[in-house]
């Protein structure tokens, strides 16, 4: 498991903790990268704080992606990679989501660039983003069924499992 150090002298952690004591659930330091695990409810508020606070200025949301840890629960881990261009700093925000309720606030109101990043996660993992202006599939066809990057989706698709294959191809071979 990753090394957990709760007493990290990190300006991001300090600012966020001074703003709200329960803003950060866990701080993970691994290979020089800082990951802040935040509760789902406050994700958008924390993101806005990271962007607006003068000491942080994380103005660039460079990437957002998801990890599926099936069959562990909570199975989904959303990772947001933030960069502060003025402060030359990086941090990762992480939210854990359970498999039966994969819903989280969209970050499009904070960074408009989150739009396609979240659409991609919705497309491939089936995570719902509330408040997203245009939550449609982006890489796969609109009528695709299933979420391919989930661990319970076979690498080869469903074509080798006839019973399921007919269901997913709607009777077409």
């Amino acid at each position: 498991m990753t090394e957990n150090t709760s007493q990290v002298s990190n300006v991001v952690v300090e600012v966020l903790r001074s703003w709200s004591t329960n803003a950060i659930e866990e701080v993970i330091e691994f290979r020089g990268e800082t990951t802040l695990v935040v509760p789902r409810k406050v994700l958008r508020a924390i993101a806005a704080r990271c962007r607006e606070d003068d000491a942080l200025q994380f103005n660039l949301l460079t990437d957002a992606t998801c990890v599926d840890r099936f069959p562990m629960e909570p199975r989904f881990e959303l990772n947001y990679h933030l960069v502060s261009i003025p402060k030359v700093k990086k941090v990762r925000l992480r939210v854990r989501l359970s498999g039966d309720d994969p819903v989280v606030d969209s970050l499009v109101p904070v960074w408009p660039g989150a739009n396609w990043l979240e659409r991609e996660i919705f497309d491939l993992f089936g995570i719902q983003f509330t408040g997203h202006p245009d939550l449609r599939r982006i890489l796969l066809p609109d009528d695709w069924e299933g979420y391919p990057l989930r661990k319970d989706y076979p690498v080869e698709g469903y074509r080798d499992i006839p019973a399921i294959a007919t269901r997913y191809t709607r009777g077409r071979p």
Partner: protein, 398 residues
């Protein structure tokens, strides 16, 4: 082609389907354009035509096997993709790469940047009607590809950068080939500029077209030459150096006009900066020294060692059958690709296959700004705007 009534009912707009098989979309990109006369009122990009599920395929391969897939993400920057993936796995493993390998990596990646910019320049110019530039650009790109073929054995899908170093020792005489290229290239760049920079048609087609403000560009997560043309000197090589870039002396060109012309000037300036880096790398690369780090069980042993040492043979067998298992954790590594910030997110659960590999592809994220760039522009300028953000559809769709 259909006509639709707008909400007001007064003006009629037309919806035009552009692509996916359009020569100027640089691949298969479809854009739904809502037009008022010749002006774009709304644009909806539709992508995914080249989606091949590379990220999912990576999860079914060992860490070393996945390298060959990274080549195929961005076919104009295969070495850069190799590099970012290998840097991520090396960070996960905590491996240190020998200096000689690091400098060779820098040299090759910078050559790759020049070749990618050449393809961009040639195709962008041909889109806007300047035929001959294309031929000149591809002439020089061919020279770079010949160097790659000489060094790595492959022109495009090199897979030359490996975890812990390089695939094989570069052949003797390769430095001379690079030097020959360096001698030739500066005046060739002058030649392109003499064809375009002061050209009134070129300026008319690019100046003031596709403007985006710095705030919008950052908000939309744009990176690379597009962001630097908006005045923000964001370059991973300077801000978050990797592979010994901190030892190289180069400038990050920026401009403030933030239009198609500005981005053209930035990319031309970047080619010159890359030549500077290549020149320094040649001076830095030691003639002798290891090109792979000594990490038994992760980096394959040399042929000689395998024939004489039992352990080396066992490690070799294990690496190519089972693979190796990095400690559990996640890393996110970013490099500066010709198109912007290229990132690799690799998550390990302690097994020989990655739990998740994700590529932050700059084309995909920069393309998001296209509707903003072309809003209100003429339909002929849509072509200029698609070209100016330099997308590779293979990388957009992955």
């Amino acid at each position: 082609m259909t006509t639709v009534e707008t909400a007001t009912g007064a003006a009629k707009t037309m919806v035009l389907n552009m692509g996916p098989q359009h020569p100027s979309t640089h691949g298969v990109l479809r854009i739904l354009l809502e037009l008022d006369g010749e002006n774009v009122v709304k644009a909806i990009p539709d992508l995914g035509y080249l989606h091949t599920g590379i990220e999912k395929s990576c999860e079914d391969k060992t860490y070393s096997q996945a390298i060959t897939l990274t080549d195929r993400i961005d076919y104009l920057n295969p070495l850069g993709n190799n590099l970012v993936y290998c840097l991520a796995v090396e960070k996960l493993l905590g491996l240190e790469v020998p200096k000689r390998a690091q400098y060779i990596r820098v040299l090759l990646v910078e050559l790759q940047r020049i070749s990618s910019h050449l393809v961009w320049l040639g195709t962008h110019a041909i889109d806007l009607g300047a035929m001959s530039v294309f031929l000149y650009c591809f002439r020089e790109r061919e020279e770079i590809l010949k160097i790659f073929e000489f060094v790595a054995g492959q022109r495009m899908m090199t897979s030359y950068i490996r975890i812990g170093g390089l695939a094989l020792e570069p052949p003797t005489g390769w430095i001379q080939r690079v030097e020959k290229f360096l001698k030739m290239m500066p005046e060739r760049i002058d030649e392109y500029e003499s064809l375009l920079t002061g050209n009134r048609i070129w300026m008319g087609r690019t100046q003031g077209i596709g403007y985006i403000s710095a705030e919008d560009a950052v908000a939309l997560s744009m990176t690379g030459p597009t962001l630097r043309a908006a005045g923000i000197a964001y370059d991973n090589r300077k801000l978050f150096p990797y592979s010994s870039y901190e030892e190289f002396d180069f400038d990050v060109p920026t401009r403030t006009d933030s239009d198609c012309f500005g981005r053209y000037m930035i990319r031309v300036a970047e080619m010159r900066e890359s030549l500077k880096i290549v020149r320094q790398a040649i001076a830095k690369i030691p003639a002798e020294g290891p090109i792979r780090t000594d990490a038994p069980g992760i980096v394959p042993p040399g042929r000689e060692k395998m024939k004489t040492e039992m352990e080396a043979l066992i490690y070799h067998f294990k690496i190519f059958t089972e693979g190796f298992s990095p400690p559990p954790g996640e890393v996110f590594v970013t490099v500066e690709s010709p198109r912007g910030e290229l990132g690799a997110f690799v998550a390990s659960d302690g097994s020989p296959k990655p739990l998740r590999v994700h590529f932050r592809s700059p084309s995909y994220i920069n393309l998001q700004a296209l509707p903003k760039l072309i809003l209100g522009q003429l339909i002929s300028d849509v072509i200029a705007c698609i070209g100016t953000i330099d997308i590779v559809l293979g990388e957009v769709d992955r």
